[in-house]
Every structure is written in C-alpha cells, then in structure tokens.
Symmetry: C2
Subunit: 135 residues, 2 copies
DNA sequence: TATTGTTATACTCTATAACTATA
DNA sequence: TATAGTTATAGAGTATAACAATA
C-alpha cells in the first residue's frame, strides 16, 4: 500500500461522493443540496444565509447557489429577517421536511454500503479521529 | 457534535483540499495534477493512459485532462507505446521529477498542518481505517 | 463606512457520449 | 467488432471581486 493519508482520504472521499450522487439522484438532490437541506431542517430556528454558509463551511456565495436550487425545488423558502433588514432567513417547507426524511434513509443506506468494511467499533474510532480534525 | 461520518469526511476533505491548493499554487499545480504527477513519477515503467486513469481512480477521459495540463507545463511527455500502436505512454521529464521533489516537501508541510491534532499513533490508526475502506 | 447577500465570473474535478485510429 | 484515447459537452462544488441595500 503506497498511499499516504492524503491519498487515502481522497480515495475514500471519491467513493463516498459517487455513492451519494447515485443514492440521492432519485430524490433530485446533489450531495451538496442534501447537506444544506439537512442543516436547514435540523436548525431550531430559521437560519440566516451567513449562518448557513458558516455551518456548511463554505463562503456565503456558495450558500446562495445551493439555496437557489433548494428553493426552486420547493424544499425551502427565503424570507426577510424581521429583526435585521439586510439579513435573509431560510426555512424548510413541508415538502422539504418530507424529502429530508426520505433522504435520511438514502443516506443511511449509503453509509452502510461505503463503510461496510468497518465494524461498529472501527466506525466509532474513525468518527472520533475525524472529529479531532474538525477544529 | 451532530456530525455523522459522511459529514466529518466532507469537512476534513474540504480542509485538506484548501490546504493543498494553497501549498501547491506556488508550484503551478492543482491537487489533481500533483496527484497524477506523483503516480507518474512513482511508476517503475512509463504508464499507459488507461493504467494511469485506473491508478487515479477516474475515468480515462479525466486522465486526458490532467495529463494535458502536466504536458503543457513541461512536466511529463506522451509517446506512442512501441508495443501496442493504439496505446500512449506517459513519462516524467527531468523538470517533472524536480517538481515532484519540491511538491513532496509542500505535501509533507500540508499533511503536518492538517493532521496536527493527531499524534503519530492516531495517524497510523486513521491510515489503517482508511486503508480498509480502499477496496 | 461596515455588513449582508447577490450578480458576475472563473476554475477544479469528474462524468457520459460520440468519434478516431488501431487491432 | 472491440479497444485506447481523445474531442465535445455538462454538471457539481467552490472561490474571488464588484455591487446593492441596509445599518
């Protein structure tokens, strides 16, 4: 095995990405849209665009693109923030919440497929190590 | 921490990608080009395009793009395979080998920065877990 | 003048499909 | 007809810079 950590990361990331695209396509979602929908439906309060971008770990401009797509698909709506005036709030529609549920199922199947070589203990180990990197 | 394995993977992958782009930019390389140059310079024999694609885990068309860029930068050359006629061999130039060395340095610095939160034992654990996924 | 989000634009990575040349 | 690589094209993700509206 001549692959270093970065290589192995890239290989796993490509595999995950392909799997996600395949599983999410029937729902009309890309992996990035699914991620954003998960954050938006998971938030306790409607999110401002800037906060969404931060949680997604992307620049604000990138959040605009993904919310445009989700809005056009009828899964989220934008509304002016009554408290700010220059902020915009994003919140899920009923359909968005429904799709979010279906998506969760697809996602679990995807995880099961990609991480099949790891047992429960190994997955937890991996999760803990990756969490350390997320700082 | 509300992130699952796939999320954490994505977050780490984005961090690695940003770091690599920054470190490799001074060399005029993208992460994908650097990866290909590493495979090409690391091969014992000149590689056929198809073999390169396979080792990079991409479709042949994607190998064409990256080799185009490396060739234009004077880091690799293409030559017809004397044994096949419809195959094309890719091999590094002297400059390609030089850049490969500089690149190795940049890469080690990048790894050190991104994986700083992990000690040697944890990195080895992570490497082993990721290797299990690479099947 | 600083902040929030968007329009405009570009680049990286990857993929499918159709075509060319060879076998 | 099957294989190797390329041309043509597209879509997903991300980014910087310039701008409008608001504060």
């Amino acid at each position: 095995m001549e692959h270093d950590l970065v290589d192995l990361f890239g290989r796993a990331a490509r595999k995950i990405r392909r799997n996600q695209m395949e599983r999410l396509a029937p729902l009309g979602l890309t992996p990035g849209q699914s991620r954003a929908l998960r954050v938006i439906t998971g938030a306790e309060e409607p999110l401002r665009m800037g906060d969404l971008a931060e949680r997604l770990d992307v620049v604000p401009r990138s959040a605009t693109t993904v919310v445009d797509a989700l809005e056009e698909a009828g899964l989220v709506t934008r509304a002016p923030d009554p408290e700010s005036g220059r902020s915009i709030l994003v919140m899920p529609t009923d359909r968005g919440r429904t799709v979010r549920t279906l998506m969760g199922q697809a996602r679990r199947e995807a995880v099961e497929e990609v991480f099949a070589p790891l047992n429960a203990e190994q997955r937890e180990q991996l999760r803990a190590l990756l969490a350390l990197l997320d700082t």
